[in-house]
């Protein structure tokens, strides 16, 4: 035991991450925000960093992390405490996502799907019975949830979806399939979007074990390898009528969920960028070439200075967006700007950081290549880089280019 503790402490010690704060943005946070950030950072250093490279290499989703996240309280932090949520504000939620994705984007995906895409719609569109039945168990991590919107032929164009259900009197009969669903293979609960007979998009809560429902895993991913991704297949699934989300009607239901999740991603991607920057800065100060640390060379300083500039801008965007979210004033286009920008800069920071580390940058001794591969998913999921640009274009001109 003592030896295990020692090894563990050694590993914890190895993760020296500190977040940059060039513009004293911490002064704009409350003591509680800082305590929350530190708690999640300590959690990541203890429960994720020592193991993540191994999980990633083996494409292993550590299911026990779900309970641990639940105990920590990162599932549904903005949902009221009476339903098991945290009753916290959106800045606290953002800081949690920043710290978890600093550890790994796949871990953050698990948390943001559970909170923003499963708990949020049940809270926002669900009946009181549905809230009481599902939210406490999802908050505690007893149950894992997933969100089914994307289909094999309908990604950026979800309104074309084929999944549908029929009113059979006592129940709904659900048919169709969903693709690229985070958490799907291990999920106990799926919030599924499908069309009713009138062609309106509605939300249904589908539970594991319902006859005709399966969630095969998608293998061979080179990204988000420590999180599990699957399909959802509905073959004449009888869904009880009380499982329909009464408050959601049309595409705006799932889009509101995505707004909440994309907001979390804009903080999360910032976390991944910070980890790459922090790693590259430490490395540059230690790595000696031509008898001096490579941090002494102008081209290394250029890379570091540009990384810090982009990170600082992204921090300010996140914080202001968080304030707007708290006031209920954030628009979808504002969220698109943040998600798009922050993932893009995170990818750029990761690539520059990788170069600073030279050959070491491609190994799993350092987190950079893993972040880079993860971010290739993050730049595409929850609205692709291009779609977010077009959402901005539509907001600026009033003319949607994707219709």
């Amino acid at each position: 035991m003592a030896q295990e503790t020692m090894q563990f402490q050694k590993k914890v010690k190895a993760d020296l991450f500190e977040s940059p704060d060039f513009y004293n943005i911490d002064d704009l946070l409350t003591e509680e925000h800082k305590m929350i950030r530190q708690a999640v950072r300590d959690f990541v250093k203890r429960e994720i960093s020592p193991y993540i490279e191994d999980w990633y290499e083996k494409a292993h989703f550590p299911y026990e992390i779900v309970r641990k996240f639940g105990e920590l309280g990162v599932f549904g932090p903005t949902i009221p405490q009476e339903y098991g949520g945290g009753g916290l504000d959106y800045i606290a939620y953002g800081l949690m996502m920043q710290e978890i994705e600093r550890g790994d984007s796949g871990m953050r995906s698990t948390a943001s799907v559970q909170g923003s895409l499963v708990m949020y719609p049940i809270y926002k569109f669900g009946s009181e019975e549905q809230r009481r039945k599902y939210l406490p168990k999802l908050a505690s991590g007893e149950w894992l949830g997933c969100f089914g919107l994307t289909e094999p032929d309908f990604g950026s164009n979800p309104s074309g979806m084929k999944s549908h259900f029929k009113d059979m009197g006592d129940y709904y009969l659900l048919n169709g399939s969903k693709m690229w669903i985070s958490n799907a293979p291990m999920a106990d609960v799926a919030v599924v979007w499908a069309k009713n007979e009138a062609g309106r998009i509605k939300g249904l809560i589908v539970e594991k074990g319902m006859e005709g429902f399966s969630a095969p895993e998608i293998h061979g991913k080179w990204s988000l390898r420590a999180s599990t991704t699957g399909e959802l297949v509905f073959d004449n699934v009888k869904v009880p009528k009380e499982n329909l989300l009464p408050g959601a009607d049309g595409l705006s239901g799932p889009l509101q969920c995505l707004d909440s999740a994309r907001y979390g991603i804009s903080w999360g991607a910032l976390g991944a960028a910070m980890d790459c920057y922090d790693t590259a800065l430490r490395y540059a100060k230690e790595r000696i070439q031509f008898d001096k640390p490579i941090a002494a060379f102008q081209l290394t300083q250029k890379k570091l200075a540009e990384m810090l500039t982009e990170i600082t801008k992204a921090q300010l965007v996140c914080l202001r967006l968080g304030q707007l979210m708290n006031e209920g004033k954030a628009t979808s286009a504002q969220i698109s700007l943040a998600k798009r920008n922050n993932v893009e800069i995170a990818l750029r920071v990761a690539r520059e950081a990788r170069q600073i580390l030279g050959g070491m940058g491609i190994t799993n001794e350092y987190p950079i290549m893993r972040h880079m591969m993860n971010l290739e998913s993050v730049v595409t999921y929850e609205g692709t880089h291009d779609i977010h640009l077009l959402i901005l274009g539509a907001a600026i001109t009033g003319i949607p280019a994707f219709k």
Partner: protein, 245 residues
Amino acid sequence: MKILVCITHVPDTTTKIKFTPDNKQLDKNGVQFVIGPYDDYALSRAIDLKNELGASVTILNVGTAETEPTIRKALALGADDAIRIDAEPTDSYFVAQQIAAVAKQNNYDLILMGRESIDFNGGVVHGIVGEMLGIPALSPVMKLDIEGNVAKMAREIEGGKEYLEAELPLVLGCQEPIAEWKIPNMRGIMSARTKPLQVLPPFAEDVLTETDSFELPPPRKECKLIDPDNVEELIDLLQNEAKVL
């Protein structure tokens, strides 16, 4: 059972220490403060005892208002309430006086703290408090179980361990692995907001020591790396340059 946990508010262990220009005080600019790591272990054990035996846990800190975030973190970890003695913790005797005065008013069964603070590393407060209260003080305690009115402990001694028992009440200076350090969860952080934090003026003002000045250790000398195959050069340098062989 009533437990008092005394915590220090100290610079994070990774802080690069600087002093004010007169070298009399720590330059707190840009320094992040944390609960003393040894105190953190003491607190973790107290919280475990609370969960195992139903104890109440009170936090005590001697410090100015700037220590309150550190106290709130201790409350977030599961302590029930806190007392802050509103004064600079100038020396060990001064701090021990405050702890003893609080303890006299409240009859704690256990007074736990770290084996030493990690800023000034005095390591004597527990002993002075024990003496002032007329109860046993032990340190460094690395294992603590309570059975009825008896504490069963393991203590680190030169080259080994000592197992001992003593009746409550006790003052203990703690160190790892007395408990696994804890991370506060969101529920704890939220509830810490509303837990009682009492601020009291110091009970006594006696300070027995005064700091003349602090001095940083000399910067580390340049390190020479020698190829593992080149043992001859290593021996030569150890003999002729370092003169240690």
